[in-house]
């Protein structure tokens, strides 16, 4: 039994931390927040050069063929730097959907482009009903003469405004259960009838879009994988993306704890550093307990999805339920212990506080995942 990271993974962590400390500074993040794209071409090229855009894809698709435990290390560091841009949507949503559902040809074409930094992708799954289960999908794809016509509204779609291809989940058949009759389609940027609207968001490091499909016509080659059979691969994508998000959240929470303890050591009140007062010290200890438990559940979930063990969905839901609460509370406590300075735009804490909030409601919040845990343990 070994519940730790190996030397290569520790090396990846060091490399990622150094890279992001240089390239993804607070100034860089803030500049990207103020712009629609959320990324620069130069930064994207550097991510490709690091090999991170293809980290989890197989070598025959231009990737490095590493696993989710390796990815966990990278995601923690990206969360630590509150990295903006379409990395998550491209690698873990659009790209991963193509990897899980696509044909050999579709994988080769798109994953190679993604790994090289030549294409960005995303997944359009959620709708105004704000659900994360199979019942979320009401968008329809009508088949006629070997072609499909797509209609519907997708909401909370990450980075659709910069994506070269949007993987759209739609119903090709009304089944007895919501899991039946789902299909995935590759919809290219600029398709006729496709409208993408960037939405103003509280967390400006995460760009969310509304995607409207009005009689968007695509050919049979746009069908990703098998018709009516998209739920199984989609469920795997959602579990895996959830675990990756949890890792990113852990990295952010750890950063907040680090900033807060550093500050508590130097900020003096009533003649002593505030960290010497139990009111501050005990709250910092509470933060540490939550952050460590959050990591434990996340690392276990990363191992579970990597190994594809039967309890992987349970592990993913346990992690997301816990981490959603832990990051929100840690970020809130960070602001509180900093006092007034923590409430300013100038200080970076609010970037983490807002990222915690946007992450909390991505892929289902704590109460959604607690209910899923209840079901999976046969309660």
């Amino acid at each position: 039994m070994d519940f730790g990271f190996n030397q290569e993974q520790e090396l990846l962590r060091n490399t990622a931390r150094k890279f992001l400390e240089n390239e993804c500074t607070s100034e860089f993040v803030r500049a990207r927040m103020a712009e629609p794209a959320g990324v620069t071409d130069a930064f994207w090229t550097k991510l490709a050069e690091q090999g991170w855009l293809g980290l989890i894809y197989p070598e025959e698709c231009g990737g490095t063929g590493l696993g989710f435990v390796d990815l966990t290390v990278l995601m923690e560091e990206m969360g630590r730097a509150v990295m903006p841009g379409p990395f998550f949507s491209t690698v873990l949503l659009g790209g991963l959907a193509i990897f899980e559902a696509g044909s050999a040809g579709q994988k080769k074409e798109w994953l190679t482009k993604i790994a090289e930094g030549q294409a960005k992708a995303t997944l359009a799954f959620t709708e105004p009903n704000a659900r994360w289960d199979a019942g979320a999908v009401t968008a329809a794809a009508r088949e006629s003469g070997g072609k499909f016509t797509l209609n519907g509204t997708k909401l909370f779609v990450l980075d659709a405004h910069v994506a070269d291809v949007i993987v759209v989940a739609a119903r090709t058949r009304e089944g007895k259960r919501p899991e039946e009759g789902l299909s995935l389609f590759l919809v290219p940027r600029g398709a006729r009838g496709l409208d993408v609207k960037l939405l103003p968001t509280m967390d400006q490091t995460r760009k969310l879009c509304e995607v409207t499909l009005h009689d968007v016509a695509v050919g049979a080659d746009a069908l990703l994988g098998t018709k009516d059979g998209a739920w199984a691969p989609l469920a795997r994508v959602l579990d895996r993306a959830t675990v990756a998000l949890c890792a990113e959240m852990c990295g952010g929470a750890q950063r907040v704890l680090d900033m807060t303890t550093d500050y508590a050591k130097i900020r003096v009140a009533f003649g002593k550093p505030i960290g010497s007062y139990q009111g501050v010290k005990h709250r910092a200890a509470d933060m540490l307990v939550e952050v460590e438990n959050a990591k434990s559940l996340t690392y276990y979930a990363a191992w579970a999805v990597d190994e594809n063990v039967p309890e992987a969905p349970l592990a993913a839901s346990m992690a997301k339920a816990y981490v959603s609460d832990a990051y929100r509370r840690t970020a809130g406590a960070g602001i509180q212990l900093h006092g007034g300075i923590g409430f300013t735009w100038e200080h970076d804490l609010h970037l983490y506080f807002k990222r915690a909030k946007s992450s909390e409601f991505t892929f289902g919040d704590a109460s959604y995942h607690r209910e899923r845990v209840a079901q999976l343990i046969n309660l």
Binding site: D2, G275, K281, Y322, I377, L379
Partner: protein, 396 residues
């Protein structure tokens, strides 16, 4: 990262599993909770620990020459997992196995190491811990019990309090002041005290549960031979801290397991009890609470597994190791509160009422759990330790 077991470890698991299946009495499994007043089951628990010992399932990580099995923390973890899955009864000599034994093995003379650990494992000799005093609890270094040199012996005078198992213990891990002029951490000595020595008086203290599981212990000119000193005169603070470290490490497995057993039992109860006109497990709010407890319990398990991994690799314990006791306390108290909430008005009925759910065992567990955040270092002290030693915050 790898959670798979070696074939030897897998065989160990199979051996534990089949052994437990054949040995745990059916009436024990039917009790429903591990939080059973020990006073009612002393004789049974003593026999049970002897059985465990004969099977080779106690002192798993202790060296073979002192009665242990010489295995690793992985086998220890497997053992505790299997005991949880099969709702095995707890150990009676928990302070001896978790604290006294490892400390003696770490600091004892060869004679001491040959004399004590084996009888701890077999439950022939029960141990208690003489640390806290009326004026020395969280601030343990202010303890006042005196040990005065007299020939080749020491004469002990003073008082200990909150001493669990003292009324049935054969031995005590005793901290006493041997040099009142030294700085307070430097003048303390760790003694192995025979509880049957003249001058030792044990007075039971009734707890909020109504039981008397802990005690006051008075020392009136109690003579202890110098060979009963453990780890050197005036070195008791370091030895005592080692005991506490083992307490947190070794008992950690057991605590985690008891939590899981209690959780399974609580879920089992929730399936049988109605609330707001439907079975508890169908109530969406109660489902949320039970699922959260499940998650918290799993989190403790994996945080513990990370700490074990560091130990196995020969690294120093990381931040994850220090959070175990506190995390367990919070989760266990939450669990006991939830058991009461599940029972609703029935939570008022105790043992003796035919209407009491599960014979009233949950009421005992609920009350007993209030001590968890006080015993073995209060939660407030744990938070100071985490804040200062892990996060590096300044002392107050």
């Amino acid at each position: 990262m790898d959670f798979t077991l070696t074939s030897d470890q897998q065989q160990f698991r199979e051996r534990v599993r089949s052994w437990l299946k054949s040995k745990i009495p059916a009436e024990w499994k039917a009790l429903g909770s591990t939080e059973v007043p020990r006073a009612e089951a002393y004789d049974f628990l003593r026999r049970w620990q002897k059985q465990l010992h004969d099977g080779g399932f106690i002192g798993v990580t202790w060296p073979k020459e002192y009665g242990g099995q010489g295995l690793t923390f992985v086998e220890e973890m497997i053992l505790h997992e299997e005991m949880a899955l099969q709702k095995a009864p707890p150990m009676l000599n928990v302070l001896g196995v978790g604290m006294a034994g490892p400390t003696i093995i770490a600091y004892g003379t060869e004679e001491q190491k040959k004399r004590y650990p084996a009888k701890i494992l077999s439950c022939e000799e029960i141990w208690c811990q003489g640390y806290s005093e009326p004026n020395a609890g969280s601030d343990l270094a202010s303890l006042q019990t005196r040990a005065v040199r007299d020939g080749d012996s020491y004469v002990i005078n003073g008082q200990k309090v909150w001493t669990s198992l003292a009324h049935m213990a054969d031995w005590m891990m005793l901290l006493a002041r041997t040099d009142p002029d030294a700085p307070r951490h430097k003048g303390i000595t760790y003694f192995l005290l025979d509880m049957h020595t003249p001058g030792v008086t044990v007075k039971p203290l009734k707890q909020i549960t109504g039981d008397a599981e802990f005690n006051e212990v008075f020392f009136d000119n109690v003579r202890v031979h110098e060979r009963q000193v453990l780890g050197g005169v005036n070195n008791g603070w370091a030895v005592g801290l080692t005991t506490l470290m083992y307490e947190r490490l070794a008992l950690g497995f057991g605590l985690q397991v008891r939590l899981r057993i209690a959780l399974e039992s609580m879920i089992d109860m929730a399936r049988r009890v109605e609330k707001h006109g439907r079975v508890v497990t169908r109530d969406p709010v109660m489902r949320q609470k039970i699922a959260q407890l499940w998650i918290d319990t799993e989190a403790l398990k994996y945080t513990g597994a990370r700490a074990i991994t560091r130990l196995l690799k020969g690294e120093l314990p990381g931040p994850e190791a220090s959070t175990g006791k506190m995390g367990w306390v919070e989760t266990h108290q939450k669990l006991q509160e939830l058991a009461m909430e599940i029972e609703g008005p029935y939570s008022q009925l105790t043992k003796g009422s035919e209407r009491a759910i599960d014979g009233g065992v949950w009421q005992y567990g609920f009350l007993r759990s209030r001590a968890n955040s006080i015993e073995g270092g209060t939660t407030e002290i744990q938070k100071n330790i985490i804040g200062e030693r892990v996060l590096g915050l300044p002392k107050g």
